[in-house]
């Protein structure tokens, strides 16, 4: 495994600590094999790799949707396997398929689902939902039925549902899949805004071009292991060795890749 020094944004405390994480599925398939990593609070990490490399499996350990076969995952010092509810409050997760992530019958009801699970009082729920919908630009759609939203709006609603739980880390699993160009820009803009406001972001993709310019750190996975970990400009050239397409304009510098320009 290659570890390159990552440029530090000040000396931020570590928020995610994964130690020797192993995951084996019920049929014996190895999902993760001895993964260890630390993520500093406020950082923006991209986890890339081909299908089946273990990206989604790794993310699902962060909020206890999967439990380790061995090893530990700690978020803000708390062992995820021992306190699932706190882990799920601290780590918000956006899934690949936004459609099946939406639970509420209206935009408002969906954003309120998480805070209701936290048993907050109605006034606090209302405050959080209004804030989350305003932050994602969906306030004017609060009474609308979610299945009538566009692809980009559905993903922003999924983000609003996460924000209403006030997590410290947000995990995005392939957030740009099946989105058109305006949809990608909407969702990317939202992610960048969250990062600017200090959120820790972990994002999996096999399409580096859309987001690499904005990340602090790039991690390549293969066969359930972290193979390479460091700053994006130093690693991007090796992308194709890990089954990920190297951005065509990478030669111009990673900064030139942004889809927000």
């Amino acid at each position: 495994m290659t570890h390159l020094p990552v440029e530090k944004r000040g000396a931020m405390p570590v928020i995610i600590q994964i130690e020797n994480l192993v995951h084996r599925f019920a049929d014996g398939t190895v999902g993760l094999e001895g993964v260890s990593m630390q993520v500093a609070e406020g950082s923006f990490v991209i986890i890339a790799g081909a299908n089946g490399s273990g990206k989604t499996t790794l993310l699902r350990h962060l909020n206890g949707l999967l439990r380790p076969t061995s090893g530990t995952v700690r978020v803000a010092g708390i062992d995820v396997a021992k306190d699932l509810l706190r882990a799920r409050t601290m780590v918000g997760m956006m899934f690949q398929d936004a459609d099946s992530q939406i639970v509420g019958e209206t935009v408002y009801a969906d954003a309120a689902f998480g805070p209701e699970n936290l048993k907050l009082d109605r006034a606090e729920i209302d405050r959080r939902v209004q804030e989350a919908l305003a932050a994602t630009g969906l306030a004017h759609l609060s009474g609308k039925r979610p299945h009538l939203l566009s692809g980009g709006e559905k993903r922003r609603l999924a983000i609003a549902g996460i924000l209403a739980m006030q997590p410290r880390v947000i995990v995005f699993d392939e957030p740009f899949s099946n989105l058109d160009y305006p949809g990608v820009r909407q969702v990317l803009g939202q992610i960048l805004q969250l990062h600017r406001s200090g959120q820790t972001i972990l994002l999996t993709t096999h399409d580096l071009e859309k987001v690499l310019a904005h990340a602090d750190r790039l991690v390549f996975m293969r066969g359930g292991k972290i193979e390479c970990d460091g700053p994006p400009p130093a690693l991007v050239a090796a992308a194709e060795a890990y089954g990920v397409k190297r951005p065509r304009a990478a030669g111009l510098g990673v900064e030139a890749l942004s889809w927000m320009n």
Partner: protein, 251 residues
Amino acid sequence: MDELTGFHYRSGSSVLHRLDVRMKLLLLALFSAAGLHVNSAGLLLLGLPLLALAGFSRVAPSLHSRELRGLGLLLGVVFVARTISTDGAALLSMGTVVVSREGVRDGLQVCLRLILVFLMGSMLAASTRPADVKAGVQWLLDPLPFIPAERVGTMLGLIVRFIPLIFEEVSRTMDAQRARAVENRRNPVYRMVMFGIPLLRRVLETSDRLALAMEARGYTESRTGPELRAGRRDWAALAAGGCWLALVMAV
């Protein structure tokens, strides 16, 4: 896939829209129960104020809606079946088929009952947000033993959420099969199996993903409950409805 049925919420601020959902559900249950015990004249008396309220609150079902056409067909079938299957004084006879006076009376009564229930159902759906219907049902079920009210409420909400997804899967599966000339197959059993199995698989996969997403958002059965408020106006509406029912039953 926008409006799947005529039974959808139409926003507004009418008296009916503002009425507490629990009162609406109670009145619906009371009027439905009363409808079983009154004759056609009584049914008309029950329906008239409801029709007026529906018109006033602009939630009357559209005469051109698909559901109303379906209801018309259902009523026709029920009426014909009743008129020819009830014994009594013959009004008209065609060979072995005899239309009886009692049959016509019974048929009319059953049809009026169905219209009353349909009218109340569409008024409730058009004037109440799905989340409030869910909250009302949950509140009414809460005191009943052995019924997990919270779970029933969540299930109701998910059904409302899931219907459009299922319809989308249906049309996607159908398109994919048409593109491979399934229409050339004449055997309906073959077509049903080839359509049903992939559809079921996709719907189950979707529900699996939904369950995972709910878990990720910390779903638990002890959650913040819905907020329902009943004011003086709501109690007055319940009392007025109750009085009207008592009057109709007495007459």
